[in-house]
Structures are given as structure tokens and as C-alpha cells.
Assembly symmetry: C2
Homo-oligomer: 386 residues x 2
């Protein structure tokens, strides 16, 4: 009997997730070796760690998108962020992957900042707060290294004039019963949040809408976001747009073990990009690991990387290369390296990364606003051909 006691929706992740079972439940495809090989071949080089290490493990129609690419149909990338506070390192994964695709395939990247959604979702938050976090978060995203000439931003409350016609078309196709079933909405859910999925669909369709022909779309996202885009895919063809392809990641575990958002301790559960160095040290030192009860036991039996929040950081972002990642993993499993030592080594990677990140985000500040699609339905977000 599969254990289906876990819950994964865009608004709730709980329980111990069985990822293969989740893929079955959602009806998605596996990122298997032949697909990885095809992608490697078309990209003309090695796959990024997030794909090599199985973090992005599930997809919908990625193969279809690649075969269209081979036949000359250029795709675009779309990912987003709900700005309700500072970003942490796990928030960057989808953008890291997008950056790799942009670099290798020289394709446009569209970033959505959903400040309206976060305002609707959080009872105590003001519209000014989510808008202001929206710009701060955008700098963190651009710091990942997108090519500004191939990147545009849908900032919901600032780009609505452009987005609205497509949102209006989409909203007409989605009955309340669908969003109720997919997102688990209650009678008390506000009508903004009910409407919102129409806006999250816009960037997937907009380039096709503007071009007047199907433009394939690839959306890397956490698998918890799949329900949003399942709705998008369900209505795409009735509006004459291609179904977007999806590439799903596993959910990165929080530093305290278990899920990333854990109520009151949220701040301690992740490495935020604006945390001061001492705070980073403290959090990593306190992080939940897969270690044993005693040093003696761990030397003898080894630890369990798969449940360890520190190993997840090595795996998803901080290992310099595969050699380092494999050494960390085997030394953990064998008991050759204890948790304290492992945490010290990780910190040697995290600190320089955050210093570099801070510089890159400031470097993005002068041009960030210029990438935001305006309110006026004027110029298409048509980016130069490669």
C-alpha cells in the first residue's frame, strides 16, 4: 500500500513526501536517462547539478518541447516569485535552472512577481509591503545572472495593463469549482485569491498571444506548484495556446528538518540571502542533520544524507563540483566525516556565495526596473532572436 498521508498543494506541504508516489498521483512523467541524454545533447554540454542529482525529477512534456526545438521552434522560460519577505537559497533553485537553459539555448526568460497574490494570501500584509518586497526579490533573482537583453518581468500590480486581456480570457474558462478542488479554497477565501490563478497563467500564454502563433513555454517549478499549471494546461488549447511544458523539483527540506515553512520558526528554517554572516553560522550549526546520537555510533554506522538538511544544501547549491558532492556524500555515509566538520566545510562555500550574491544584486539595481513590462499594452515583450 503506498503511503498517501502527505499533502502537497501550492498552499500546503506536509507529511513525509514519497516523490515517486507523488508523481503517480499527479500523473507526471519521470526525468529518465534517455530524456537527460537528449537534453545534454541539445544543450551541447553537461547537465546542471540540479538535473544530474535528481532534484528536478519530474516533468510534463519536456520531451515534446525539445523535439519542437529541434524542428526550429524556439521556446521561452517562465518562473516566478511571491514576494512576502526576503528570499532564501532554496528560492533560487528554479532560477538557477532557468539561467542554465537561457545560457545554453539562448532563449527569453520571463519572471513573474506576484505581489497581488501574496497580499491576498497574507492577512496582516499591506499592498505596499508586498510591492516593495517584489522589487527587492527581483534583485535577488536577477543576481542569478540572467541576460538582461533576453529577460523581462511581469510585476503583477505594475504590469496589469499588459497582462489583463489575457487574464480576462483565461478567467472566463475557469469555473469556481475547479479552483476550489485544485487549491482547496474555502468559503472564507477572498475573491482576489480565487481570481489569482488566471494571472499566474498569463506569462505562459502572453508570447503566443502577442505573436499570434504558438510559442512553446517551459516552466521549472517546485512540484507543489504543479496544480496551478495543471489548470493552465487544461485550458490552453481551448484558447489556441500550446500547453506549457513543466519541469518539477522536489521540495527542499528546511534547516530544522521537515518542510520549509514551519510556522513561528520560519526565519530559522532557511539561509536567507540577506542574513548576516553570524546568523548564517548559527543556523548552519543548529541545522537538523542525518547524524547519529553519539560520535562513536556515527563513526561506526555512518550518517544518513537523504534526511539531512545540510546535505540538501550541498546537493542543490553549494557543492563546487561532482567530485566534492560525491566525497561529501560518501564521507557522510561512511562515518568518515562528522556533522560538525561537514557544516564547517559547507560554511566555507556559503559565505563567499552570499558575498558574491550581494554584489551581483546591487549590480542589477540600475537596470532592474527597466525590465518590468509596463502597464500600457504597448511594446510586446518580444525579445531579440539569438
Amino acid at each position: 500500500m503506498p503511503d498517501d498521508s502527505f499533502v502537497v498543494t501550492p498552499y500546503e506541504v506536509k507529511g513525509a513526501i514519497d516523490y515517486d508516489r507523488l508523481r503517480e498521483l499527479f500523473g507526471t512523467q519521470s526525468v529518465d536517462d534517455p530524456l537527460k541524454e537528449r537534453l545534454r545533447e541539445l544543450a551541447g554540454g553537461e547537465l546542471p547539478p540540479l538535473l544530474r542529482r535528481g532534484v528536478y525529477y519530474s516533468h510534463r512534456d519536456l520531451g515534446v518541447l525539445l523535439e519542437q526545438y529541434v524542428r526550429g521552434q524556439r521556446f521561452f522560460l517562465y518562473s516566478g516569485r511571491g514576494p512576502s519577505g526576503p528570499m532564501h537559497t532554496a528560492h533560487l533553485l528554479a532560477f538557477d535552472l532557468c539561467r542554465w537553459f537561457q545560457e545554453r539555448f539562448r532563449v527569453p526568460m520571463y519572471i513573474q512577481i506576484t505581489d497581488d497574490e501574496k497580499f491576498w494570501l497574507r492577512p496582516g500584509t499591506t499592498r505596499e509591503e508586498t510591492r516593495s518586497w517584489g522589487l527587492e526579490n527581483l534583485l535577488d533573482i536577477l543576481a542569478v545572472g540572467f541576460d538582461p537583453a533576453r529577460t523581462r518581468v511581469y510585476f503583477d500590480t505594475r504590469s496589469i495593463g499588459t497582462m489583463y486581456p489575457v487574464a480576462v480570457d483565461v478567467a472566463k474558462r475557469i469555473p469556481y469549482s475547479t479552483v476550489k478542488a485544485v487549491f482547496g479554497f474555502k468559503p472564507a477565501t477572498n475573491i482576489g485569491l480565487v481570481f489569482y490563478t488566471a494571472l499566474q497563467t498569463v506569462p505562459a500564454f502572453y508570447p503566443s498571444y502577442r505573436a499570434g502563433r504558438p510559442v512553446p513555454c517551459l516552466i521549472p517549478c517546485g512540484i507543489d506548484q504543479d496544480p496551478h499549471f495543471r489548470v493552465t494546461r487544461d485550458i490552453a488549447e481551448s484558447l489556441g495556446y500550446p500547453k506549457p511544458s513543466l519541469l518539477h523539483s522536489q521540495i527542499v527540506p528546511g534547516l530544522l528538518g521537515g518542510k520549509m515553512s514551519s510556522g513561528g520558526n520560519e526565519k530559522d528554517n532557511a539561509l536567507f540571502l540577506n542574513d548576516p554572516p553570524k546568523e548564517i553560522d548559527r543556523k548552519v550549526r543548529n541545522a537538523f542533520t542525518g547524524g547519529r546520537a553519539t560520535v562513536e555510533e556515527q563513526r561506526r554506522l555512518g550518517a544518513t544524507p537523504e534526511v539531512c538538511s545540510v546535505w540538501a544544501l550541498w546537493r542543490t547549491k553549494f557543492a563546487r563540483d561532482d567530485t566534492e558532492f560525491e566525497r561529501v556524500t560518501s564521507d557522510c555515509r561512511s562515518g568518515a566525516m562528522l556533522c560538525g566538520e561537514c557544516k564547517g566545510k559547507l560554511l566555507e562555500r556559503v559565505h563567499p556565495f552570499l558575498e558574491e550574491h550581494a554584489k551581483r544584486r546591487e549590480a542589477a539595481r540600475p537596470y532592474a526596473e527597466s525590465l518590468i513590462v509596463g502597464d500600457t499594452p504597448g511594446p510586446a515583450p518580444d525579445l531579440p532572436e539569438p
Copy 2:
């Protein structure tokens, strides 16, 4: 026992409406003689026929608005139109009344064109159709004679950039359960329509939002639209805006008797502003009246103006003055004038009106677009002080 078998919502009007009972059910106030006298006094002249003849018969806080006016607080007018086809003469009533208020009180008028709502509401309609009807309808509304210097237009799909911040604030305050209860939405209702009431609320709040102080608002509307604005009034104070005052009209009966929209015969049920003269003749000649079965009987017993669709036209729009209106009414009731003669006399008023209207709507064409609030949240729709 009051007869509550009638139904009045923004999306459905059916049964024989008992207007006093409807006022009780909705909990609105009566437009009584002292209020009319106060309004006449402040307006510095006679009330318009629509108020004198009891067509606008119900209100919420009109007295409050007038006393604020006396204390120097200028109000503004707001009315709207859902553009799904050509307008008929009954559509003009709220605008006729607004025009009178604008002329007498020299106040700003805001017109909302809800092309998104009509697109969401009508299964077979395209977004381009409702948008295009929106501009056509706007010309008919401006032909009523608003002062362009004191009039601005919220055209939903064109003004969304300006409207959205306030719509976002409003949407957060309205749970799905409220719109379900108020509008009778079903699981199959699309999420655009669920969201829409937030947009219909925007013009009532926008001037206060821009000014940063409470600006009173007066909304003349059919009493079937009261539920929309009841939601608006319920949330106003929590957002720091004054509750809009409402002035409600009775529902004008259709030419075929009964309600105005009667399915397949809709086109024959009203005098459309773009109907050719022969069509107008035919419709009036076929109109449902309060006449008797035979001429002899009608001469002897008289007819019943209160149930007559032709009398409703005299009453709401076409009587040249009170003398004419009273003569028509008493000659009908006494049997002195038969229905055929009455219809002929009415046509002598309708034809010149429609000719004149057509000229005035063409005169509005050159400036209509310039009154539309843009997508860019730029200039406030702040109109010159009188």
C-alpha cells in the same frame, strides 16, 4: 402576507415586483417628500421628472450626502454600463438623472464601462465584441449631455492599470461566501465573474483613494444593482472610505409587458437607440398596454396606466412636461384616449428624440476617447473645482 415571490438580483429580475416590499427586504429608505423638498431647495430649482414621478423611489444615505454638501463637502456621481449590445431608452435613465445632478451641483461624473464583466457573463461573446460595444455605448451615454470637463470614464479593460490597486485592496476584503450569497453564484460560475464585484467597487472609492480624504459618492442605479453596492458599502469603512450613497429606480417594464429582458424576444422588448424609424413604429404599435379587450369596454371603464409599457415610456422619458404627462395619464384612465391614439402621440415624441440623440452621439465621438482614464496609474481623475 406580503407577496415575496418576485426575484431581484443583479443577474435576475422575475415576477411581479412589489416595490415597497422590495425596499423593506433590501432595507433601504424611501425617497419621501421632506427629502425631495430638501433636494429641490439645494438644487435651486424643480426636481427632474424621474424624481417627481417616483421612478427613483428608494435610497441609502442620500440625506447624509446632502447634509455633507451643505457643510461644503463636494460629492461625485458614479454610474455604469455593461456593454453587450446596443443601448435602449431605459438604459439612459440613470444617466439622465446623473446629468441633472451634474448640471445643478456642478459635480464630477464617473462612468464605468464594464466590458470585462459582460464578456465573463455571456458565454458566446468575445472580448473584442464587448470592448467594441463599450465605445459605442459610451457615445450614447455622453450624448445625454455630460460636461466633458467634469466627466471621466473607467473603461475596465483600458483603465485597469489605474483601477487595479484599489481593486486588489477591495478583493482582499470580500470572501467568496459573500459573493455567493449576494449574487447567487454557482460552482460553474467563472472566476472572472467571482472577482468582478471588486472592480465595480473601484469608481466609488477611487477619488477618496487619490485625494487621501473622504470624497462622498452618489450612485443612481436600478434597484436590482443594489446588492453590488451593498457589498461596497459593507467594506468601505474598513478601507477608510465613506460608504457611497445610493438612489434606486424601479425596473422599467419591457414593451412586451413584464421584465425588460425576456429571452429570445429581447430585441422587441425595448426601443433601441439605433433602431430605424420603421422598427420603432412597429415596436410601439405592438407594445403591451393596460387597455381593455374591446374599444367599447375601454371607453366605458378606462385603461390601467400602471401596467402599461407605453405609459412607462411617457413617465420615464417622453412626456414633454408634467401637463402632458398628467393629461396622458388621466385620458388613459378615463377611457377618453384609446391605446392606438396614445401610441401615435408617443411616436411623435420618440422620433425627434432619437434623431437628436444620433446627432449628439456623433458630436461626442471626437472627444469620447480622451475622457477614458488610462492604463497608467498616472494623473488622478481629479476634475476642476466648480
